[in-house]
């Protein structure tokens, strides 16, 4: 039993049975059905060529035939109605590949209605009042207008998320690390807080920094950010002025960069990025990299000029739900150049490999 034969059968039956059904006084059909047959204006009545855009038989579909409005040509009853010309869609016609099969006859005689080209009348001036204010109390309208505007693109949103919150297993004391961001605001202007830090269990926090930023959308994908950064942890607690960016680069790389100017006039910078590679719909491999650099030596903070340290990470997370994704991974971090020298002089290592385990979560 092929689909086509079923359809044909269905249509034939429809054509045959419908008149009977229409006259058999089926429940509730009451007075309605007989009237249209007599007086109802139907498109096929137009002898003046007003409805030329279709093939003639198309107007005489089973319904109409059933209602006695027209008589289909024998083969038409079963032929499914074709759209204008499936083989010649407008884009192909536009490219000169083909000519639509059924040109609208009326177009030749100048066309009617929607076939006519538009004129070039000027647009009217923009009114400076609101029509509803003429009928309803102006104060009520003002208020509702304000609410409507705000509810149509003007609402603010709050966000808090941990990109990293992890346990780090490594040579020596195991440690921990976090990287979080929160923001509040609209589509363009936002107040952003960033926090990151790390340390080893059983010791004071090694480093912790907090940034308070004004963030502004400057393009479809990027935000420009400026504000202050406050450090805590090893070394002097410094305050920095900061300016940076954050956004989505081509090829779906999430990138972020910033320059920091300390109260002492030291300039440093950071650039980092990651990429989410979906292995399955819930399993995601995230390679990430972070580079820090400084313009000058800052010995009391243990930072040397040039590229001061780099970090490469590879984390595999499983999105239990979008908001909660535990992960495991590996991270390689290394201090470089003078920074490494300062570290060794202070009796610390210059870096190494950690196995990490944590959770990416947001609220």
């Amino acid at each position: 039993m092929t689909r086509a034969s079923l359809l044909l059968a269905g249509i034939c039956v429809m054509a045959v049975t419908a008149p009977a059904a229409a006259r058999s006084g089926h429940g509730g059909h009451g007075s309605a059905p007989s009237a249209p047959v007599v007086e109802e204006p139907m498109p096929m009545d137009h002898g003046d060529g007003a409805q030329m855009d279709m093939e003639p038989s198309a107007t005489c579909t089973a319904e109409h035939a059933a209602m006695g409005h027209c008589t289909p040509e024998p083969e038409d009853a079963a032929a499914p109605e074709a759209p204008a010309d499936p083989a010649c869609p407008p884009e192909h016609a536009a490219m000169g590949h083909c000519t639509p099969a059924a040109p609208v006859p009326t177009a030749a005689s100048g066309g009617v209605g929607t076939d006519l080209p538009p004129g070039d009348a000027p647009a009217p001036p923009v009114p400076d009042d609101w029509y509803a204010d003429r009928l309803y109390p102006k104060g009520d309208m003002e208020h509702s207008r304000h609410v409507m505007m705000e509810e149509s693109g003007g609402l603010t949103t709050a966000f808090l998320g941990f990109n990293l919150a992890e346990y780090q297993a490594r040579k020596g004391r195991d440690g921990y690390r976090w990287e979080a961001e929160g923001w509040y605001g609209g589509d363009i202007h936002r107040l952003t807080i960033k926090s990151e830090g790390e340390g080893a269990f059983g010791e004071a926090i090694e480093s912790a920094e907090t940034q308070l930023l004004y963030s502004r959308a400057v393009g479809p994908y990027f935000n420009l950010q400026a504000g202050v950064r406050q450090d805590a942890g090893h070394g002097p607690d410094r305050t920095y002025a900061t300016v940076g960016f954050e956004g989505l680069a081509p090829y779906w790389f999430e990138v972020e960069g910033a320059l920091f100017l300390s109260g002492k006039g030291d300039l440093s910078g950071r650039i980092e990025g990651y990429y989410d590679q979906r292995i399955t719909r819930k399993l995601i491999l995230q390679p990430m990299a972070e580079l820090n650099f400084a313009v000058q030596d800052v010995p009391e903070s243990g930072i040397g000029s040039g590229l001061s340290d780099m970090e490469l990470g590879l984390r595999l997370r499983y999105e239990v739900v979008r908001e909660f994704a535990p992960y495991v991974g590996v991270e390689w971090a290394r201090k470089l150049g003078d920074t490494a020298r300062f570290a060794r002089a202070a009796g610390e290592g210059a870096g190494g490999v950690s196995l990490v385990m944590g959770v990416r979560a947001w609220f």
Binding site: L7, V13, T17, A21, H26, G27, G28, H29, A32, A35, E40, P43, A50, Q51, M52, D53, M54, T59, T61, A62, P80, E81, P83, A84, E91, M95, H97, V104, A107, G113, T114, L116, P118, G119, D120, A121, P124, P125, V126, P127, Y131, Y136, D140, M141, S144, V147, M148, E150, E151, S152, G153, G154, G161, A217, P220, P250, Y251, W252, R322, W362
Partner: protein, 594 residues
């Protein structure tokens, strides 16, 4: 509203579970419906009271919070008759403002029910009386235009019987209200979209898929990645959180519409979803479309059609066999479906077809319609046969030859010279470089389903258009957005940023080109007017109140600005409107403005 109660009770008696649900549903939406009779309504429809209140609803056995009307979700069917007067007293029992907009009805603007545009809204614990004449017939619907209330149940159908004989003959009718339902609050859904674009998209391409040879080739993935365009982004909110409903019933509830074999059954289908564009079919039955957006069209037999949010279609099916048929409304990204059953008796089920593979956006969806297409969606068998294109591998090469490799394309995807009226704003992710009219296409993923799918170009109005003048001018409106920030706008400007209405002179006829600069479909709705789609149908253009503008494409309509006042004009995807994709259209008498 005429319901054969005895018949319903008899039908429902078989299923205790079904009967338990009954309290939540209006009679025509009961788990098993014998259908409405086509007899004309009584005069009791002249004075109607609707009460908006919080309640719970049960979908597939799970209870969630909702807003209903007169205690049901969907709200009661409002059955009116053309030519009557309607007096609708709306009581707002909520603790917040509410409203009812009569979608598709031609009425005075101050009765249109849009807070902040047509009236001040209905304050908590207060009443508003809508009063207007009914000047049309057909299938329509009503819903809240306040906040996000529509998502949680504040919607219902309207059927207006014609004052003269109905040109459509049918023996039985069923109202089919499609909607989407989530257990997340609408505010939570919107917030997730804002903070995590693509939050609900669980159908992204994967490395596993690449290795298995599925979806895009590596080359295409790299090119699309260069443009930061996600080809699986078809529906922002989808089956990962939604259950899709028929008359308030989930797929497992299996709402059932009864018929007697051989009857002509009229299905009045309303898409009352917040965000879901559906592809509708009844496997084994051909549907004949007889009405679009409430107005009669020349009967059009199809196997499937796409229904945008807020559109309505009336179809006739004539099931001749004594068996059950599945009615399936598959959401356009194919992450889920609404399901019902057409059956001669209650308790029957038919096979439910599995979800089809999700579509991937193509270059054409990015507004490169006039160019080659590396995904070959445009290279269908018949085109290839005519030598117009080659379906296989070398499309990519053509592409490069046309100077639109990854680098060049990157640039041309946001060229404001193409659309000078669009504001340079972070809310504009892309501008379609070469958009084409897509009203002759069935919708994403429906190009090659192997059977007849409706396109707008197939629709022909049954009656001659009331105004057949040439438009005096034309107007371009760009549909713009940024998926990465979930910002949506017209011409790059959100409603919240722009008080100015789009002006029209009363009585003028204008051609409006809706140019979609985004990779998503937008069902665009103009309040207070019907417009004629410009699809080469002359003075029998199909008249609609809502039109889907396909991704990267153009939809064009002519309309006569004959309804004085200020009117809302917006994308009917609820969260797109909520994100700013709305403007006010103002129709003023000549000389009245400014």
């Amino acid at each position: 509203m005429q319901i054969d109660r005895r018949r319903f009770i008899g039908a429902a008696a078989g299923g205790g579970a079904a009967a338990a649900l009954a309290a939540w549903m209006p009679a025509w939406a009961q788990p098993v419906s014998a259908g409405l009779k086509s007899r004309l309504p009584t005069v009791s429809g002249e004075d109607i009271t609707l009460r908006i209140a919080r309640q719970t609803m049960r979908v597939d056995g799970k209870v969630s919070r909702a807003i209903g009307i007169n205690g049901t979700i969907p709200g009661p069917l409002i059955r009116l008759r053309e030519g009557q007067k309607a007096r609708l007293t709306v009581v707002n029992d909520l603790d917040e403002d509410s409203s009812i907009h009569w979608h598709g009805l031609i009425l005075p603007f101050h009765m249109d029910g849009v807070p902040g545009v047509s009236f001040p809204g209905i304050k908590p614990r207060s009443t508003f009386v809508y009063e207007f004449p009914i000047v049309q017939a057909g299938t329509y619907w009503y819903h809240s235009h306040s906040g996000l209330q529509e998502q949680i149940g504040h919607y219902g159908p309207i059927v207006i019987d014609p004052k003269d004989a109905d040109p459509v003959a049918y023996d039985r009718e069923h109202v089919v209200v499609l909607s989407d339902h989530s257990r997340l609050s609408p505010e939570a859904i919107f917030r997730k979209l804002k903070v995590n674009p693509g939050h609900f998209n669980m159908q992204r391409q994967t490395l596993g898929g690449l290795l298995a040879g599925e979806d895009q080739s590596l080359k295409d993935r790299v090119e699309w990645g260069a443009m930061r365009m996600e080809p699986t982004d078809v529906a922002d909110v989808n089956g990962s959180t939604y259950t899709f409903l028929v008359n308030g019933h989930g797929p497992r509830d299996n709402w059932t519409a009864l018929f007697a074999p051989g009857e002509r059954v009229r299905l009045r289908i309303v898409n009352a979803s917040a965000m879901s564009i559906f592809n509708v079919r009844v496997p084994g039955l051909r549907m004949t479309i007889v009405q679009a957006d409430g107005l009669d069209v020349v009967p059009l037999p199809v196997d499937e059609f796409q229904i945008g949010v807020a559109e309505t279609y009336d179809v006739i099916v004539t099931p001749v066999e004594d068996r059950a048929y599945s009615f399936v409304a598959e959401v356009n990204d194919r992450s889920g479906m609404a399901r019902a059953t057409l059956a001669p008796r209650a308790g029957m089920v038919a096979d439910v077809p599995p979800l089809r593979k999700r579509p991937l956006a193509t270059m054409k969806d990015m507004g490169m319609g006039a160019m080659g297409d590396s995904n070959n969606a445009s290279c269908t068998a018949e085109h290839a046969a005519m030598g117009h294109c080659t379906p296989a591998a070398d499309a990519g090469a053509d592409h490069a030859a046309m100077g639109h490799g990854a680098g060049g394309m990157n640039h041309s995807m946001r060229d404001f010279d193409v659309a000078p009226q669009v504001k340079r704003d972070p809310g504009v992710q892309s501008i379609s470089p070469m958009p084409v009219d897509r009203m002759g296409e069935p919708g994403q993923g429906l190009e090659d389903v192997g059977h007849k799918v409706m396109t707008y170009r197939d629709l022909v109005a049954l009656d001659r258009n009331p105004d057949v003048r040439a438009p005096g001018r034309s107007l371009d409106i760009h549909l713009t957005g940024n998926m990465e920030r979930f910002m949506w706008s017209f011409d790059g400007v959100k409603m919240s940023d722009h008080h100015e209405p789009i002006p029209f002179i009363e009585g003028e006829r204008v051609r409006v080109n809706l140019i979609n600069d985004s990779m998503m479909s937008h069902p665009i709705h103009l309040h207070g007017h019907f417009f004629e789609l410009v699809t080469g149908k002359g003075d029998r253009a199909p008249r609609k109140h809502t039109v889907i503008v396909q991704p990267g494409g153009i939809a064009t309509f002519d309309f006569t600005a004959d309804a004085l006042g200020d009117w809302a004009f917006h994308c009917h995807l609820l969260y797109h409107m909520h994100a700013g994709m709305m403007r006010v259209v103002s129709v003023r008498p000549k000389g009245d403005a400014a």
